[in-house]
């Protein structure tokens, strides 16, 4: 699990962007969606999640606003910007290319 985490960590931003492409969301909801999509095999630490939010916000890939919850603590919602969508598409293509290459390099070499 720890090795898998290391590989995934480099893609935290892209994973968040992928979630925000669907709809505006807040930290816990995104993390829960990640958990559900991976069948509880992966989830982000809160600190990792917020560091990624800050980086994305500074790069203008996402924007944020406060929700209007009347009970309990306020939630901070995030929404993806146009720039963010472009960056997401780019990252997705990069990953798909890398995936193919690594597959060729790792999985095929043993069989030959």
């Amino acid at each position: 699990m720890s090795i898998t985490s290391d590989i995934i960590r480099g893609h935290t931003e892209t994973i968040i962007l992928a979630n925000l492409c669907e709809k505006d969301s807040y930290g816990y909801e995104i993390n829960k969606a990640i958990q559900e999509k991976t069948n509880n095999q992966y989830e982000l630490k809160e600190a990792t999640l917020y560091s990624a939010f800050r980086r994305l916000e500074q790069a203008s890939l996402i924007s944020s606003y406060w929700g209007d919850e009347t009970t309990g603590a306020r939630r901070r919602y995030y929404s993806i910007t146009t720039l963010g969508r472009v960056a997401f598409e780019q990252n997705k293509n990069d990953w798909n290319e890398a995936k193919l290459l690594i597959d060729k390099l790792i999985n095929n070499s043993g069989t030959k």
């Binding site: 807040y26 930290g27 816990y28 909801e29 993390n31 829960k32 989830e43 630490k45 809160e46 600190a47 990792t48 917020y50 560091s51 800050r54 919850e69 309990g72 603590a73 306020r74 939630r75 901070r76």
Partner: protein, 218 residues
């Protein structure tokens, strides 16, 4: 349970700068922790288990706190640059004021240029200097925050919103505009350039009286 999580978050952010961003981050984190805790309780976890699981899910906040500090440093540099620019503009404006008088004396007594033309040149230079100062003060915030803390934010708010200052400023500028207009009018119409400058001394006194009147009224 809210308090338990809140205390935990406060502990984690002990070393964070006391800024609005840090405050917001804490609030955001807490909201998410409460959501997670409630979810765990709904899934049949005990209070103890839910709290422990929630808190261990936070992870290492050092990176977050470092991020908060870096942002402040960045702001500080930008503000310093802005200050230097403001100082440069103001200094050159004042230099222009002084040089305009020097030029006036030089043109009239050394080169023997006609008085009216020399005064026109001086006034043009003064106008440029005034424009520089006005542009500079409008294009920058009136108060520079030293950091992003709530105290500094309050000071900024106070400085901008101080209504009394705004009124006094407006009154002052009106008074001086009127004084200059009267000076030019009297001087041109009655050709009293030799004594009409006294208006500025009287004007100064009138301005003080008006300001005093406003201050006493409060």
């Amino acid at each position: 349970m809210c308090d338990e999580l809140r205390n935990r978050v406060e502990e984690l952010f002990q070393n964070a700068p006391k800024t609005r961003r840090a405050q917001e981050l804490k609030e955001e984190l807490l909201a998410n922790l409460i959501d997670r805790y409630n979810d765990l309780i709904n899934n049949g976890k005990s209070h103890e288990e839910a709290i422990n699981s929630t808190i261990s899910g936070i992870g290492d906040v050092d990176e977050l706190i470092k991020g908060l500090q870096e942002q402040d440093v960045f702001n500080y540099e930008r503000i310093q640059n802005q200050r230097k620019k403001t100082a440069a503009v103001r200094t050159s404006a004042i230099g222009l004021y002084i040089m305009s008088v020097v030029l006036l004396i030089f043109l009239t007594s050394v080169v023997n240029v006609d008085g009216t033309i020399a005064v026109c040149i001086m006034l043009t230079m003064d106008a440029i200097a005034t424009c520089l100062i006005i542009y500079n003060s409008i294009s920058h915030p009136k108060y520079y925050k030293l950091d992003d803390s709530i105290v500094e934010e309050f000071k900024e708010w106070k400085s901008v919103n101080s209504k009394r200052n705004e009124i006094l400023k407006s009154v002052r500028s009106i008074v001086w505009t009127v004084i200059v207009a009267i000076y030019l009018l009297i001087s041109f119409v009655f050709n009293l350039w030799d004594i009409s400058w006294i208006i500025f001394i009287i004007g100064g006194a009138i301005e003080r009286i008006i300001v005093l009147f406003f201050q006493l009224k409060e």
